[in-house]
Amino acid sequence: MIRMEGVTKTFGDHAVLRGVDLNVEKGTSMVIIGGSGTGKSVALKCILGLIRPDRGKILVDGTETTTGDRDAFLARFGMLFQGAALFDSLPVWQNVAFRLLRGSLKRPQAEAREIAIEKLRRVGLKPDVADKLPAELSGGMQKRVGLARAIAAEPEIIFFDEPTTGLDPIMAGVINDLIREIVVEMGATAMTITHDMSSVRAIADNVAMLHDGVIKWTGPVAEMDQSGDPYLDQFIHGRAEGPIQAVR
């Protein structure tokens, strides 16, 4: 469904992506792992068109992402950002229903609010959260609101950028379970980037290891522990010694 072919991206003189090749099958959950600053977020943003790659092709269902109607393209995606990226000035329900209150997916306000409350309930939040402002919520609740917003329009493809960063282990587990449930329930194609190995094991069907601007290893999560790849092995066991330099 999503295919990246030889994607490169350089910022100044720093080559972040040096030729990323990746294939994500429809209805599967791909988790991209890798150290900080290895370009995982850049790869996701390239797919969404938030960052323009220097070279290479990105195809969704065989069509290049740079062609066609941009609104229709983006309507297929939902994204949970690392810090949730909720709009401070809007109450929670309007954040969740943002897409349903404007543009091609616009619904009547009462219906949009109803859907927002239903999605909030789906991620384990009570309806009384709907009228609060994002600043009144804890980090974990903000992440859940972000998740509710990502699924509000029932997208075919959902991206999760570091979904458990900054959360305690219990809340991280709750978010991981929610992501897995939602992806299975909706039949969506998911791409997640994370450092958190418990997230990888909870969320992934397939795993890709990004290092030095290229995909070093990719395969089913069940094969990850026996991959024999020294980079992946060092990363998943969190060892300071190995081919990945601890100080980069």
């Binding site: 810090g83 709009f87 897409r99 404007r102």
Partner: protein, 260 residues
Amino acid sequence: MTLLAPLGALGRAVLTFMATVGRVSIFAARALSHIFRPPWYPRELFSSLLTIGWLSLPVVGLTAIFTGGALALQIYAGGARFNAEAVVPQIVAIGMVRELGPVLVGLMIAARVTSSIAAEIATMKVTEQIDALTTLSTNPMKYLVAPRVLAALITVPLLVGIGDIIGIAGGFGVAVHSLDFNPATYLMNTVNFLETRDVVSSLAKGAAFGLIAALMGCFYGMESGRGAQGVGRATKGSVEAAAVLILAANFVLTGVFFSI
């Protein structure tokens, strides 16, 4: 090599300046074009009208009334040197309407509104809210920039008009209560002396300064760097740029309206 270094630095500074001018020009053209092209966001526009216009009234009113009062005292004291104390109403009126009203309101808007817009948009950028808008099929130029620019274009001329009136009222209050001017004569002299061109130039300056103030806030916000330092730089840069451009535009517009 050492001798050429200053030239190299000068060249880099000129190139950077020209590149910034180019980026600001393209940004301004895009912002203005989005005002006229759907989709429009009336709620965002209303909120911006309230923030930029209504909530700026107190600071504009206070600035204008004190400036008008001080102007009356200065003109009276200065005019007394050559027995021209009677020109206070005329000079206060012309001074407020042609120059001080628009410039002071413009600078107050730069301080209050430009900084606020730049900080808000820069924070949104740093916290990925701008990216989130895009992924939610909403163009940030239409949703964030166009309503703010349009609101400033509408409200700042009104604020300038109100500032002019309050400034003249400040001068009137001081003149009548402290300098023993006759109220009716003061008002008659003020009204009779002002020309349509004075008022039109004042409002036109207001529109230009509002445009500059909103554009600089939006531009620096959208171009902000990372982290708290990026937000701080964007805010500082936007106010500096807006203040300097407002004063430069004032000079140009004064030439356009009043050059003989």
